[in-house]
Amino acid sequence: MKRGQFSFVWIFAILAGGAILALAIYGAVQAGGTLRHVSDSEAAKNFAILTDPLHAGFAEGSFGKISFRQETRLNNFCFNDGKFGANELSVATRSGVGEEWILPGEPTSVYNKYIFSKGENVGFDYGVFSKPFEFPYEVSDLIFLMDGEYCFLNAPEVVENEVLDLGIDNILFGNCSSEIERVCFGSGEDCDSIVYGSCSGGCDSIYDEGVVSKASGELRYVGNLMWGAIFSDNGVYECNVERLMYRTKSIADVFASKTDLMDARDCGTNLKGDLIVWGGLAGNATSGDLTSLANIAETMDRKNNLEDCKIW
């Protein structure tokens, strides 16, 4: 065998072998990326399903923790199409191999839940709790998501009791370190957000309605929407409130039709007109309309309670 011929065979083999190895490595990286995308997409779907048992149902609320094995970015994008809208959840996990963060997996659209949180949440553990929203009838459970700890200062007893009853360990009271987000009730120093209550007459607490003031703006709330205003970005909050108002209107339509069926079997009510007007007002309402709508809701609730055949 000539020396030149031997070298050529080896050079050829090395080049071809190198090309195959390069292709194999490229294929493995691509497959790894696809697997990561799939696993991130599954994580978002799983997250949506894991919030199912948190529906408060007949309880005052419920709290749970959702943990990931790796650090995770959980994006909550709320979109409002003028109807029921949706929360689109997507997940990106941190990886020790290759790119640290890649684009999130396929988003999971959740149409029948109202998830209040920041737009982008980062962490291993997420505190999630739910509270019912009644306006004046039960509209839906609200789900609140926290990726860190919050410090409540000057919180009224009713708020403190609610947190302690649910065992929400992401919310601390009193002396907190300066790194934690600080939420002040009424007044306080170095506050990231301040809750101003404005409820007067027939309220459990002055904070049954009011405004949450943040650097990014003011968010008006009624009832349990206070928690949403505290934990959410402005965009997510406004969008979810508008989705909720559309749902309120849809339920009012169902109730209005229900009154006809009840009338037909001599179990009538006088609320049909109120429900039709209420549906019209709620359908296009924003968070700015909440306080005025709350007064009408209270009047309707009183009327309903006087009926033998209650609508709700």
Binding site: K2, Q5, F8, V9, F12, A13, A16, I20, L23, A24, G27, A31, T34, L35, V38, E42, K45, N46, A48, I49, D52, P53, H55, G57, F58, F84, A86, S109, V110, Y111, N112, Y137, E138, V139, S140, S250, I251, D253, V254, S257, K258, L261, M262, R265, D266, C267, D308, C309, K310, W312
Partner: protein, 183 residues
């Protein structure tokens, strides 16, 4: 002669390289096949979990539930309203492929869709893709169904007094079977 042997060697090498290349391609395809079968299985499992956990959530929705006092109780008036068009208008809002409610006691011989006299079946929502399925089908087509017992109640006024009259029913939730769609 030497040149021919060299060419022979190169040919042998080429065949070998092509063989190895195809081996890796086939191995890769096999791996991807297994991987995506897992993904489909995972998606099915997630959809099943969602359907099961949806049962209670759907029964508690204010559009269907009978007040806020009883668990797993549906309002017959609301069911009636939902079958008359409202259910379909909710569209994507339902996190499922179909939602039906049957009255199961007293036992019936045939399914009578509501609204009708002595009806026993409420088809609240069916994803438009599955509308050709027959009434009462279970586990057919690409829908797998899960169910739970419920009370179906309405408020009645009789002889001057108002009371709740309830019957035994079954809520049936259908979920899309992804693996069958792709196969």
């Amino acid at each position: 002669m030497v040149r021919e042997r060299g060419q022979m060697k190169i040919m042998q090498m080429l065949f070998m390289i092509v063989g190895v290349f195809f081996f890796f391609v086939l191995a890769g395809l096999f791996f991807l096949g297994i991987m995506f079968k897992d993904v489909r299985g995972g998606a099915d499992e997630l959809a099943r979990e969602q359907a099961i956990s949806s049962l209670e959530i759907l029964a508690a929705m204010p559009e269907l539930s009978y007040g806020d006092r009883e668990a797993m109780s549906l309002d017959e008036d609301k069911l009636r309203v939902m079958v008359e068009g409202y259910g379909a208008s909710y569209g994507n809002f339902w996190p499922i492929a179909s939602l039906e409610v049957y009255k199961i006691y007293p036992a019936f011989d045939s399914v009578v869709p509501c609204p009708a006299a002595n009806c026993n079946y409420y088809n609240i929502y069916t994803d438009p893709r599955y509308e050709n399925l027959q009434v009462g089908d279970s586990g057919q087509g690409n829908i797998e169904k899960v169910s739970s017992y419920v009370s179906i109640c309405k408020r009645i006024r009789e002889l001057g007094s108002v009371y709740d009259r309830c019957e035994v029913g079954k809520i049936v939730v259908g979920m899309e079977e992804i693996s069958e769609v792709g196969e």
